[in-house]
Every structure is written in structure tokens, then in C-alpha cells.
């Protein structure tokens, strides 16, 4: 009969209307932004930020200005100028670290390629500026955020990173210790070494 299909559809809509009142918690999902905000997912990513350890954002900065992120960034939104000391030697620290948020497309590749776990993805999303040119270029000061902040937005990932860094530090310490021990042993040894070890080229008697 003509019209049954429409009636069936109407019944479905009516069913949904009733269903909304029967299960309001599940069905009424509108969030009254900005009074209410949804809890962000841990993986949620927006713009990059720089992690620093300790209290001093300048000294504790993990970034060594290696420029890998600058090279890999697909839209080229990162600008890094490494800090140089008086002799022009690299100080392994950025003098300038700018991210142009007007260009950044939040892809997260910078965080992925960073070998020092310095650059990570933030979850702030209310970024506005009066000036669309200079206002959207974030400098090192705005980008630097503490490790505690990193832990507060991404607890699982931050704990994992901390563990990995501690492990690397431990290994570096051990190898440094071993190196020092070797150097100390080598300093003592040379006096007797030539006599003890014959060179491989010399034919055995």
C-alpha cells in the first residue's frame, strides 16, 4: 500500500523521540561549551610544545637545536636558530625556536622524529590572537612547558618517556664510568704493554 514506507519511517522517528527520554544519559550528548567541556582523550593532539625538566624553562630545556624537526616538518612551520657561545661553537641549545601556528597542521611528525623527547604534542585548543601574523607565531617562551604539565595531559606517554630517558641516562652513566675506568687502567698500563702484547704482524718465533 502506498504510504506504508513513510509511516514506517515516522514510527522509527517517534521511537527515537521516546528513546531519548528513556535513556537521557546515553542519548542527550550535547555539551554546553564553553561552560562545560568534554574530557580530552589522552592521544588528542593539537600544537607542538617543548618539554623542560626541573623548574627553569631555559636551563632544563631538552631541546638541543638539532633541527631534525625543522627538516621533517611537512609544512615547514618550525624555525630554529641554535645558540652559539663566544667562540662560535654550538651550545646544543636553541636561541630561537618559533612555531608558526598559522601554518602548523597538527600532524605530530615533529614529536615523532625528535630523538631527545623534547618536542611533544599539546592538547590546548583555544588558541586565538589579535594579530594573525605575529600573534600566531609562538616563541620559545610560550612553547616551553614543564614535564609536570606533560604528565598532567598525557600521563601514560609521559611516564613511558620518563622511564626511557632514565634508562638512557643510566646507560650513559655506566658507559662513562666504564670509559673512565678504562682510561684509568690505560693510564697505568702503557709502561708494561709493549712487552706483554706482541704485534700481530710479527712472526711467531
Amino acid at each position: 500500500m502506498l504510504g506504508t514506507g513513510i509511516l514506517k519511517g515516522l514510527a522509527q522517528t517517534a521511537l527515537n523521540l521516546v528513546g531519548t527520554f528513556r535513556k537521557p544519559a546515553e542519548r542527550l550528548v550535547t555539551v554546553q561549551y564553553p561552560e562545560q567541556k568534554i574530557t580530552l582523550k589522552e592521544n588528542f593532539r593539537t600544537i607542538p610544545f617543548l618539554v623542560y625538566d626541573g623548574d627553569d624553562p631555559e636551563k632544563g630545556l631538552r631541546c638541543t637545536a638539532c633541527k631534525i624537526c625543522e627538516k621533517e616538518c611537512p609544512p615547514q612551520c618550525i624555525l630554529i636558530e641554535p645558540l652559539r657561545d663566544a667562540n662560535g661553537k654550538l651550545a646544543k641549545h636553541p636561541k630561537v625556536f618559533d612555531v608558526d601556528l598559522a601554518i602548523c597542521m597538527n600532524c605530530g611528525i615533529c614529536a615523532e622524529v625528535c630523538p631527545f623527547d623534547s618536542i611533544k604534542m599539546d592538547s590546548v585548543y583555544e588558541i586565538t590572537a589579535d594579530d594573525r601574523f605575529a600573534g600566531l607565531i609562538h616563541h620559545k617562551e610560550q612553547l616551553s612547558k614543564s614535564n609536570e604539565y606533560y604528565h598532567s595531559i598525557k600521563p601514560t606517554e609521559a611516564t613511558e618517556v620518563d622511564g626511557r630517558l632514565a634508562e638512557e641516562q643510566r646507560k650513559a652513566d655506566e658507559s662513562a664510568k666504564a670509559k673512565a675506568a678504562k682510561a684509568a687502567a690505560a693510564a697505568k698500563a702503557p709502561a708494561m704493554k709493549p712487552a706483554a702484547a706482541p704485534t700481530p704482524e710479527s712472526p711467531a718465533p
Binding site: 514506517k8 519511517g9 592521544n43 588528542f44 621533517e72 611528525i109 622524529v113
Partner: protein, 395 residues
Amino acid sequence: MNSEPAKLENAPLAKPYELRPKALADGGQPGELLEISMGPQHPSTHGVFRMDVVLDGERVVKLKPVFGYLHRNHEKIGENTTYLGSMPYTDRLDYFCSLTSNWAYALAVEKLAGLQAPERAEYIRVITAELTRLQNHISLVGFLLQDMGASGTPLMYAFREREKILDLFESLTGARMMCNYMRFGGVRCDATADWISRVLTLVDNYPRFLDEYEALLTSNEIVVARTQGVGVLSKELAISAGITGPCLRASGVGYDVRKVDHYSIYDRFPFRVPVGEHGDCYDRYMLRILEARESVKILHQAVREIPGGDFIDPKVRAKGFKAKPGEAYGRIEAPKGELGFYLISTGGASPYRYRVRPPSLINLTVLEDMCLGHTVADAIAIFGSIDIVLGEVDR
């Protein structure tokens, strides 16, 4: 001062314009053809597309799709950035299905570099791709109905379900639409057990939603009257024009890259390829619903069987990735059709040639053939049923 306007030497003469054409000898009105420009063409809309339609009364006698407004040099950019750097750009090809675009590109690079993703990564890829297909097909039906004048209900229902899938994408990849998730030789991060169980819940509830959606639309007299027999695409034309995806299958050709190419692990899933009969708009609508049902089956099995292990080949380095010289074509069955990436490498850090075969663009080429003889309102329905995304058409 001379107030007379300057006369140009070669200024065109005003066309003699008659309000009403002269009557024919037998007293009938000959009518005039009217050329109009249809489509969203404001630069701030997300998909800018124009149809130059020539109308005889309300019938379409000529139609020329005009596109390219959203061209952003995707392929040239791909030749100048690193292999990894192109990955986020592929999100922006078909922004409705970023995960399948990612996959096609990753597959092409993997072929080029001779990589193989671990088992778990393949399963995660299948799960994300099928979820993408679910949300694409359902929202397409919503958009189609919206275009035909059913403003509201079908699209709202579709978006309600799509939201749940986008939430899953967000917790897995960090972004709702621009996922940037696939990597060469795997995926970027692992799926947690919690995420998998959430997928299972969603998949369990999905057939019920599809039933609901079908109750709303499938036998609705208005939908039937507006779509059946409208925009028929013949089997022969579909094949010769290179149409792929649901449009081709609705015309009665059982061609699915998942079955034909045996890429990834699709051989392990016993799903069927639904095929249409008439090739009209109704078949194209129905096919999407049926495909969604098959995707649900695939998802059920994939979620049940997902193994443990690595999610990315540990030998692959993201930064400084280089492929050995050669060429490769990687293709997958994206929700809109066959999406392929053709890459030529000369051994450098970026491809020498980078070419995309977008399903939307090629499916759009038969728009005129499908629309001729139909009314303007039908042309909109036909256009909607092809399922295009302008990001992919214009690149």
C-alpha cells in the same frame, strides 16, 4: 568638459535580445536553452564545485562539471617533501576517509621499499579501514538524502553514529579526521585492549542502527520515487570509463580491489561483494547499506582474531627514510573506489614522481552521461549518489 563616454573602436555590439522567441509556423513555442551555473562555489565552502548545466525547460541537455577550485598542488608537494612528510597531506585528499588514504600511500611506499607490516598492524589497518567505510557510507546516504530535500533526520542519524566512530579514531590516533596514522611497515601507535573492546561494542550495535536506518529510508515512497530509474549508469559505460567502487558495483560489475588484488589480509575474511542490478541511484544507495553490513562482518572477525606482537616493523626508521630506486603502484579499495598511489623513486629522500589515482575524480567523469534527460532536481540526486570529495578530485 566632454561628458560623452568614449567610444571604443572594437566594442562588441549589444546583442539583439528578444524577450519571447518567435512562434513556430504551427503555433507552438520553440523554447530557448538556458545555461546556468550550479553548485557551491563560494571559496570558503569546503567543497567547491560547479556544474555548467544547459537546460531545456527543466531537462538537462548538456552538463559540464567544472572543478579545480581546491587544487593545492598535492602531487608536486609530494615530490618535494620526504616520504614521511607526505603522509599528513594524504589525510587531506579524502578528508572523510583519511585512514584509507593513509593506507594506500603506505602500501605504495611499502611496495617500493620492500617492507611488510607485522600481523597486528595489518589487523589494525583492516579495522580502521572498515570503520572508515562504515562512517563514509552512512554519512554519504545522509548527504544524499539531504541533497534531495530530506533536511535533517537521515543526516542527523548518520552523524550520530559517525560521531561514535570518530571518537574511536580520536582515542586511537589523536585526531578525528586528520588521523595521520599509518606508517611504512606498520601503524604509528598500538591499539589498547580497551580500544578494541570499544570497537567490538560499536560493531555489535551497528546492525541495529542499519536496520533503523533502513526502516527510515529503504521502503520510503518518496525516496523510491526520487531515486529508482534515475541516473542509470550502464555496465558497459561504467567499465569503459574506469568507474570503481560502489558506483561500478551498483551497475552490476562485481569488482572489488579487496577481492581482486588480495592486498593485506583480506583473504582471511569471508565477506561478499554486493552487486546492483539497475545502476540507478536507488541501487547506489542500497549498495552502500549492504556494503556496510559486510564491513560489520569483517570487523567482527578482525576484532576477534587480532593477534599480539609488534604494531610496526622495528627495523623501519621514520626519519631519513629512503626507498631504493624503482617504481610501485599501491592500490586499495577506499570507500569511494580504487585509490592508488604511483611512485617512482630514484633513491633519494623524496619520490621522483608522485601520482594519485583518486576514485572521486574518475567517478565524476560520467556525471553528464548519467544526468542527460533528467530534471535539475534529479541531477542533484545523481551528483550526490556518486559520492565525491572535492579534496580528492582537485588535489
